[in-house]
Symmetry: C2
Subunit: 719 residues, 2 copies
């Protein structure tokens, strides 16, 4: 298998297919929508790391003018989906070559007209898009192809372009949108080549420019146009080099396919005995490849990748927790870019800490350019009152800073690149630890530091005390701050001196040491269960279906102060389980097993970050068959419709790169049992019983290893 | 003026008039409903301090079987309000004699029938009720008086009587209800004397017993029955002594009137130049007199007095904050009973502290017998979803314990009765201080103790940190624990030794000292304003009308997580202002004035506890004319309809004794400026400009003083 494919058109799946058939190259994502779609049907070319705000609406990422906009007219009538029913429709995505294809037939008054279109976001030139659009009639007649740039883009909290510059110059069409908040310009340019004679005229309106290509068709003859387009913006790290005038569709396509092939040479995972799992996993990897900020500086990956403005196009802890593992073992420079984004945006995190009266760096829950916090205090809407609903994602999910520290640790272990510490990494970690130090509370007659009023990974329980996960992560952060400071003191002493001058490390580090020693760490109770937070065991022990049955409106938010889950033990996602899988060496298999058994039935898995954690921990307990369905759930997040698309009245659809990264983690760290010991990969596999073997490549500390696992053998070779 | 009166019947005011015309004697309250009312119209004889729970509904006070139940039948038709429209209706309450009267005429097919009824809850015998019921026709005809005991009582969370014992014995009717939870029996007995010949038969059903008194009426002749009734219960502190057989209506009435006269001799307040204010204040005092637990042990006063089961018949901080001042200066033994209730119920408070992982005593937010916490975690209902709504009154209104300590201080200052400390008062105060000690938190690098996650007096803002009022009250509690422990060490050394053995006071008291010194006390900012809690100034500064306009449903709760006030600076009631008035010697008039000006426009006065605090503080700033309308608001809480009757979907109507006590405080401590200095009353009056003078009596440290204030003179004489 190398393709996802549909053979039927279903209007209600327009939003899903936009994600399912996504193409992209890290600079932008092109939703898998059809060429004729206008904004109601959510086509978009979503730009990485460019944001804008309209009025007091949420700040969100920006969509470029759409140079793929194309439809046909026959007998004066526009034939386009979903407005005109088609005779047949096929759509497919070749994940190994990064090419999207659609073929649709309509019955016109004269006969059948067939449209075929292939397109791709160039993996070789991050600014380029290519499209080959063909039309064929089974009669002699006339067809018009209308094709150009649609500047009237889909926006959730737009419109972001307060000005549009539209031009036609030497047959090159161009639309530049200029954003209102910062005056950033985003430009789409395109040109078209035809292999037939046609009458072509150009039209403009105040938002679009397009050509009318009038073709006298001969029965069964295929008329093809080839479009090359370029997207650029005024904040580009690399300006557009290739001249659109000289761009050639076929060369562009070949270059892109070659680039994809190189990526797949390293990143493909083969599974013997389970084609479905193999494809789902590689489909996940495909998405991770589409959104990697390969040629960008200080950019990271949004929670919904490049599939649109959902979640404000912002960077969440998802990147550090669930995605970076894949990149650091297949394209370490991408992983470094992700961490550099955090280093470079520390001032945003400092500003946020300061806003909350804290020291150090408190990273944004929804980070935009410069580390700006995109998360609103009102992050969903009450379905009953339609009022914005006060949430605490922004204020109280303190664990986000620690996730970044955790990612530094993972990255350094995987790559051996301690140098990142001297490039700002150490300061980032120290600043995170300072933030946590200012959260610590001690009771008047208490011995331990406690952390109150937090939201853990399980967002359904707000403002809790001593969340097991959060406290453990804070301890970790203190420990790493101590360890890495020690390291730079020895290895990068002038950098250390600079930091010491700034932070008085000689005094600060001992405080971090006692903080790590004295923070309250939740221990397993007499049944081996670790309580998620103070008082959790006292909550109603209702089952997930029971709690679901209490919903009055299917879109209502389960959490918040009064959500159906809030006063029960039902949790949104891995919390204690996440902690156990992240600190696996601290706990026995027995404790892991007991907590899995306790928490799994109480978990709604309402987040795409959940299943992979349970899957991974199940592998750590040696139970690959229990891990398998959760791995598949994680790997299939964008394979089939039915994902969670609403929180309250807020649309949250889009691709799920954290889930996809989580699937890779579950496969490679779980089933294959990859660990890095003294800078080298070792594997202790725990394969699902129907798997015969696995093969994948992995980069560890600069060396490429080929891992070949069979039922009874592990073979790891340096290539 | 000595009466409240209406001359028109309005069905929609049935609930209000039940409160407005209330009679009572501390043992029970009789709602000012009409004799013919059945439970739909909320008649009740609400018992002091007797509680019951049905299933998992709220625990609440119990209503006795109703021995006043009476109606007439003419021509086979029942004439009763509100079902049969009347020709005329009059209802009045003589507050100085404690007598309720009604007169109603109906037009029957034969002519006009007039019913007159006077009744009273005996102030001389707390078990007794008297009723004189007359009927008169303006034609010769027939009328039947149906009168007996209705055991089918009005309940909010009932039915509480799982068994009813109904009997007739020697013309005495009796209904005993037995509660389901504890098996407490509540008995109503009655007998009737007639001054005319009539055919009388008795009927029973499974909930009631009554007589049919058939009268052949002569035109314009008045037929009168006199009923004497007795209410008793199996938990009575004093069993019923008077034998109902020998009870005589007229003697009973005279005894009651005499008892009232004695009470008024001390408690009446006269105001020259403002009859309206004088009456409103004495009407307030009337209510306080109706509900005082005069002959009871270990009973206190419910937040809605004895007007029904609203607020579960439970005792709130209202008693200690707003009512006890009146009693300690007019009937000190009642004040002592109120405090003894807290001393005697300390085990309930200990159990609650323990439930929350705290040391010491955490008094119930809604205290029932034995200090049982009546407050649910779900204390209101969401109007939109109809779901019970999680509230934090129970969990987080820590200030309730300190209010009790504050009341001990007030009582000791007013009465000089330090002996109460050795009767358990000192232990109560130490236990409250221990509870507060276990709330103190210090930041890792902080110097001061903070108190997090509380609800202050302003309940619209839940789970806040460092509420100015709460922190100040906690400091006060530590200080008093230190001071009073010192006192008993000197004066009651054997009691001290016992406590020292139990609590290791030699170690504990120094901890209380440092706690008092190191707790964070909010200081005025550069504008002189004290921030209500951390972050309050950062909330939206919307006006009260603006916030009110955001209500979608008039019954929705303003507070909670998402209420219209929650994220604004609009507050429910005095909070900083309460603190300033309670610690007036700590602050300059300028600071008081500035905070009044800041907080008053931001206060909804959604609690009956609010206005009097603002009034009192205005007096302290010397502005009696600003204080006056708030005093009147407080004194008139039960004078006119229109009070707040709903929180969410929960009915909260009833009398407002805290408001009435607050009116007395505003008048006597505010306008008259009473202070106790070295055991003696002094007054620094600040009269509203249209008042010519005030006269009232006051008991201070065992001596009765007569205070006579005129425009230019203060005269305080011992009587």
């Amino acid at each position: 298998m190398n393709k996802v494919k549909i053979n039927k058109y279903l209007r209600e799946l327009i939003p899903f297919h936009g994600n399912h058939f996504l193409t992209g190259n890290g600079y932008f994502g092109v939703r898998g929508t059809l060429e004729e779609y206008t904004k109601e049907h959510m086509p978009c070319i979503n730009m990485a790391g460019i944001y804008d705000r309209v009025g007091d609406k949420w700040r969100e990422s920006v969509n470029a003018p759409n140079p793929l906009y194309t439809y046909i007219v026959s007998g004066g009538k526009k034939y386009s989906l979903p407005d005109v029913e088609c005779e047949s429709h096929m759509q497919e995505l070749d994940i190994y070559r990064g090419i999207h294809m659609r073929k649709t037939t309509w019955r016109t008054e004269q006969g059948i007209v067939t449209v075929t279109c292939e397109r791709f976001a160039s993996m070789a030139n991050q600014h380029a898009i290519g499209m080959k659009y063909s039309v064929c009639t089974n009669y002699d007649g006339e067809v018009e192809i209308v094709t150009g740039i649609d500047g009237d883009v889909w926006d959730i909290n737009g419109p972001h372009f307060t000005k549009l510059l539209i031009s036609e110059n030497d047959k090159i069409l161009s639309v530049t949108g200029i954003t209102g908040e910062m005056g950033i310009s985003v430009t789409a340019q395109e040109k078209v080549c035809t292999d037939f004679d046609a009458e072509i005229s150009t039209e403009k309106n105040n938002k679009s420019v397009f050509r009318r290509i009038r073709i006298k068709t001969q029965k069964d003859k295929i008329y093809t146009i080839k479009k090359t387009a370029v997207i650029s913006s005024s904040v580009d790290d690399n300006p557009v080099i290739e001249d659109i005038k000289s761009a050639d569709y076929d060369k562009m396509k070949n270059d892109s396919i070659n680039a994809w092939e190189k990526i797949w040479e390293i990143s493909k995972v083969e599974i013997d005995g389970d084609d479905e799992a193999e494809f789902a996993l590689n489909y996940s990897i495909y998405h991770l490849n589409c959104i990697a900020p390969r040629n960008l500086k200080s950019k990271s990956i949004a929670a919904r990748g490049l599939s649109g403005q959902v979640y404000k196009g912002a960077v969440f802890w998802d990147t550090e927790m669930f995605m970076i593992d894949y990149y650091m073992h297949t394209e370490p420079e991408v992983a470094k870019t992700l961490l550099k984004y955090r280093i470079d945006t520390i001032n945003g995190a400092r500003a946020k800490a300061d806003e909350y009266g804290l020291q150090g760096a408190y990273y944004a829950w929804e980070s935009q350019e410069g580390g700006i916090e995109g998360c609103s205090e009102y992050n969903t809407v009450d379905v009953f009152t339609k009022r914005p609903m006060r949430t605490y994602f922004r204020d109280k999910q303190y664990h986000v800073s620690a996730a970044i520290v955790y990612a530094f640790m993972k990255y350094i272990n995987a790559t051996g690149d301690y140098g990142i510490l001297a490039e700002g990494g150490a300061e980032t970690i120290i600043e995170c630890a300072r933030m946590y130090r200012s959260l610590l509370l001690k009771k008047a007659d208490g011995n331990l530091y406690e952390v109150h009023d937090v939201v853990g990974p399980d967002e359904y329980h707000e403002r809790v005390n001593n969340n097991a996960y959060t406290n453990r992560m804070i301890k970790f952060c203190f420990e790493k701050a101590v360890e890495y400071t020690e390291y730079i003191k020895n290895k990068y002493s002038s950098y250390y001196d600079k930091l010491n001058e700034k932070y008085d490390l000689d005094k600060l580090i001992p405080l971090f040491k006692t903080s790590a020693e004295e923070i309250l760490i939740k221990q397993p109770d007499e049944n081996g269960i670790i309580e998620q937070f103070d008082g959790y065991f006292g909550l109603e022990d209702a089952s997930v279906p029971e709690v679901r049955a209490r919903l009055i409106d299917p879109k209502e938010y389960w959490g918040g102060a009064y959500g159906v889950a809030a006063d029960t033990q039902v949790i949104k996602q891995a919390d204690v389980v996440a902690m156990l899988s992240m600190f696996k060496d601290d706990y026995s298999k027995d404790i892991m097993q007991k907590n899995l058994e306790y928490y799994e039935p109480r978990t709604e898995h309402g987040s795409s970050l959940s299943a992979c954690m349970y899957s991974l921990l199940s592998c750590y307990t040696g139970d690959a068959d229990a891990a398998y369905p959760l791995f598949m759930k994680s790997a299939s997040a964008d394979m089939a419709p039915g994902g969670k698309e609403w929180i309250g009245l807020i649309y949250i659809g889009g691709t799920h790169p954290a889930s996809e990264g989580g699937a890779w983690i579950a496969a490679v760290k779980g089933f294959a049992g990859l660990d890095i010991i003294e800078g080298k990969p070792i594997c202790r596999p725990c394969l699902p019983s129907h798997w015969q073997g696995m093969r994948f490549n992995i980069i560890v500390q600069g060396k490429l290893y080929c891992v070949n696992i069979s039922k009874d053998k592990v073979d790891i070779k340096i290539q």
